[in-house]
């Protein structure tokens, strides 16, 4: 009896153990198959800006590439407003099932770090998927500015503090951030003149209403080529294929790197297998010769980073801008 009882218990234990293993296996199988069958319906890529803008154009390209690789439509959903806060917040609230992705750009970090309040946490509310590309900032000046090189520009601005007016795309826009940061590092005193977006700001520097602007090279390349603007330096580690004659800041004697970047993220809690699958699809598409050529043709640098490197990239950005915030520049 005793033996029998213990035997029963042993059997029960064995049964329970195997059931547990079975259940674990089942669980694993379920999760594995979830990632395996992903995607079995259309994916939404949330763009927190209006259709037709820079981020939207990048997003539509990426959506097309992911869609071809994964065999499901990727629908771009524009959720503009509040300088991208509305769209990012919306994406953060979606189910983390891999069927909602977010197109990030630089403002994903700067909006929160330099802004007031904390509408979302850029480090915790999303799983980084892939960094797409970075479009380096250029320093361009109206030809009437008496500076042929970056050093001459710095000397000129130092000689007469407050002389140089630079354009921005509005408060805390990328050109504003670039100019403030460059000015602080070089010890220059310059005036910010805000314009409502890129078009008017470029017009202003071409017409000479402001002396200087720090936009992405793509935006001003035609004017640099025609001689309407003088590009003094480009804020990346290598020269831009769009304007190979323009030196980098480091070459011009003042190391400084800055750019507008684009990347993909998924709401926090998305299955790492799914994140990996999307990332691999995106990287596969981005690293084709055709895409590489297209991205370089826009004056951008291809990044195509995997999830771990993307996470590190975002963390670096957060750290950089937190330091800027602590300096009290904004």
């Amino acid at each position: 009896m005793v033996r029998g009882k213990s035997g029963e218990i042993a059997m029960l234990k064995k049964y329970l153990a195997s059931a547990a293993i079975g259940m674990m296996a089942l669980g694993l199988g379920a999760s594995a198959s979830l990632a395996q069958t992903y995607p079995d319906r259309p994916i939404t890529l949330v763009v927190p800006f209006a259709a037709g803008g820079g981020t939207d154009i990048q997003a539509r390209k990426v959506a097309d590439g992911i869609s071809k690789a994964l065999g499901q439509p990727v629908v771009v959903e524009n959720k503009p407003g509040a300088g991208s806060l509305i769209g990012v917040q919306y994406a953060a609230q979606q189910k983390p099932d891999g069927y909602t992705l977010l197109m990030m750009s630089s403002s994903y970090v700067t909006n929160v770090v330099l802004g007031e309040g904390k509408p979302y946490d850029p480090a915790a509310d999303f799983e980084p998927v892939t960094m797409v590309s970075i479009s380096p900032t250029a320093l361009v000046a109206h030809p009437s500015v008496k500076a042929e090189t970056l050093q001459e520009f710095i000397d000129l601005a130092k000689a007469e503090p407050g002389l140089i007016n630079y354009g921005t795309f509005g408060d805390r826009s990328q050109p504003h951030l670039s100019a403030v940061l460059f000015g602080a590092e070089a010890g220059l005193e310059m005036n910010a003149i805000p314009y409502n977006g890129g078009g008017p700001a470029v017009t202003a520097v071409v017409s000479g209403e402001v002396d200087m602007l720090m936009p992405t090279i793509m935006l001003v390349q035609p004017h640099v080529e025609s001689g309407a603007l003088r590009a003094l330096a480009i804020a990346s580690s290598v020269r831009s294929p769009l304007a190979p004659e323009v030196p980098t800041f480091a070459e011009a004697g003042f190391p400084f790197e800055m750019g507008t970047w684009f990347g993909i993220a998924a709401p926090a809690g998305t299955d790492p297998e799914i994140v990996k699958k999307v990332s691999e699809a995106a990287i596969g598409f981005l690293t084709t010769d055709e895409m590489r050529k297209e991205i370089e043709g826009e004056g951008s640098v291809l990044l195509a980073l995997d999830p771990a490197k993307t996470k590190a990239f975002i963390a670096d950005e957060i750290e950089r801008w937190t330091k800027v915030k602590e300096l009290g520049l904004f």
């Binding site: 509005g170 805000p194 890129g198 793509m218 080529e225």
Partner: protein
């Protein structure tokens, strides 16, 4: 001779069969989205952009351009028939066009709009071809102080073009200016009147306000006075404008074309400013200004010609200076860059075939549009003989889809609903909503350029009078202001706007 050679080069590309086809597709799509309220050319071009990546660049640009100027045609259709301006450039068309429709002259109004537009399109095309390089340079002499003074002129003109009492018009402009301040301040990044909601941070949406004030309010007013609305909407006698319509409409269309061609070149000016200015010009030169607001043909022909001309000449700064004057032009520029065509002063030498093909395709597109639209006038007119119990819910539904589609959020639907109530009250109080809308559009530009000028001059107000163009504009504004104070003008104006 160069001029002829250039046009010949352009036509050799734009008259190719496949390019005519893309031009037709663009014009047709443009008309369709223009007729649908809410869905504008910007969103449509953005959605179609990826499709054009695989096309030949010339065909792609011809089609995209067709969508843009086609939308200017289509936008006036709803403005005239149901007082629902889909875009800000057709707001003034609604004033007299809708009155004509109520009097059973909807067909004539639509035909006039189409004919005025084609006339403007043809003249503006030659304008682009002949003056592109010269005119592009003129736009650069307009800097912040000049824009500030231009906005002042615009606001004063808004008061004068309003119906009814001047005090009410000033009140409407001021409310518009205040509404324009909602959102994040460009200079400081501070949030103004946002009541802590993210939705208001980028300001109120123009389409939501105009749909509320015009479409929703109009529907409510009509439902409130059922009996009269029914008779008003049914009579549509003739489709073709009368001899008299032609006599008054043609010179108005010519004036509108010239004014629109010039204003279109200014970055930020564009079609809306052109149509508003053309309307006030027509009212100034008319022998009998009392007809305005009651179905004056000049009030349709002038602004319609102006907005179409401006839509086309706004290509000039984009193509020759790489300065997009509005969102659609920025997109077109993006589309060109995708195909490795760099807009700017070099375009005339480096991409001459593309440039001239695009310019000449506009000529072809305008002819296609008029061929497409004149037969459709009958169809559009039939639309208003549909009983309003069916028509109004249908219009409301399209409005709601359009409103939701602006930002893919229901917030704008609520904004439009609130402004619908406001518009209904204004209608009852006999206050015109058009000056409010103009104040809303011009207000932010006025503030921006004022503050920017003062930043550049380090707080010195003489910047506005030291510069000749700015001074001339301010003097013009002063003359407008004085003329409203003169007893003789006031009498004339009161006669003109006397309530019937």
């Amino acid at each position: 001779m160069d001029f002829i050679n250039n046009l010949a080069l352009g036509f050799s590309h734009s008259l190719a069969l496949h390019n005519i086809l893309y031009c037709f597709i663009g014009a047709l799509l443009g008309t369709a989205i223009g007729v649908l309220p809410g869905l504008g050319p910007l969103a449509t071009i953005a959605m179609l952009l990826p499709l054009t990546f695989s096309l030949d660049p010339i065909s792609a640009l011809i089609m995209l351009a067709g969508i843009y100027y086609g939308a200017q045609y289509g936008g006036s259709t709803t403005a005239i028939l149901v007082n629902l301006p889909g875009e800000n450039s057709s707001v003034v068309t609604a004033i007299d066009g809708y009155q004509m429709a109520r009097q059973g002259r909807g067909g004539a109004a639509l035909a006039t709009a189409a004919l005025a537009s084609v006339l403007a399109g043809v003249i503006a095309t030659f304008f682009i071809a002949g003056f592109s390089p010269i005119l592009a340079k003129a736009a650069l002499s307009f800097k912040s102080p000049e824009y500030f003074s231009l906005m002042i002129v615009g606001l004063f003109a808004a008061v004068i073009l309003a119906n009814g009492s001047i005090i009410k018009a000033i009140g409407m402009v001021v409310i518009g200016l205040i509404l324009g301040t909602v959102g994040t301040d460009l200079n400081s990044g501070a949030n103004r009147f946002t009541f802590g909601t993210l939705n208001l941070m980028s300001g109120l949406e123009f389409v939501a306000i105009s749909m509320g004030l015009f479409a929703f309010a109009e529907i409510m007013s009509n439902v409130a006075q059922k009996a009269s609305a029914k008779t008003d909407l049914h009579k549509v006698s003739r489709l073709w404008p009368s001899k008299q319509d032609f006599r008054y409409g043609t010179p108005a269309a010519v004036r509108g074309t010239l004014l629109g061609s010039v204003l279109g070149i200014l970055p930020g000016g564009g079609a809306a400013l052109a149509s508003f200015s053309a309307y006030s010009l027509e009212k100034k030169v008319a022998r009998d200004p009392s007809q305005f607001g009651k179905g004056a043909i000049q009030g349709v022909a002038g602004p319609e010609a102006a907005n179409n001309a401006a839509a086309q000449t706004s290509f000039i700064p984009m193509l020759t200076l790489a300065i997009p004057s509005n969102g659609v032009m920025a997109l077109m520029m993006g589309a060109m860059m995708v195909h490795n065509i760099v807009p700017g002063p070099m375009i005339l030498t480096q991409n001459a075939p593309m440039f001239w093909a695009l310019v000449t395709s506009m000529l072809i597109g305008n002819v296609i549009l008029v061929l497409l639209n004149l037969p459709l006038v009958g169809l559009w007119v039939k639309l208003i003989s549909v009983p309003y119990t069916v028509l109004y819910p249908a219009i409301l539904m399209f409005c709601l889809i359009g409103l939701y589609g602006i930002e893919n959020s229901s917030f704008n639907v609520y904004v439009a609903a609130v402004f619908g109530l406001v518009g209904f009250m204004l209608h009852r109080l006999k206050c015109e909503p058009a000056p409010l809308l103009l104040g809303f559009i011009l207000g932010p530009l006025l503030e921006e350029n004022l503050r920017r000028s003062l930043l550049l001059s380090k707080g010195d107000f003489t910047i506005f009078v030291d510069r000749p163009i700015s001074l001339a504009l301010l003097l013009l504004a002063a003359v407008l202001l004085l003329s409203t104070m003169m007893p003789s003008f006031r009498k004339k104006r009161e006669e003109a706007f006397a309530e019937d």
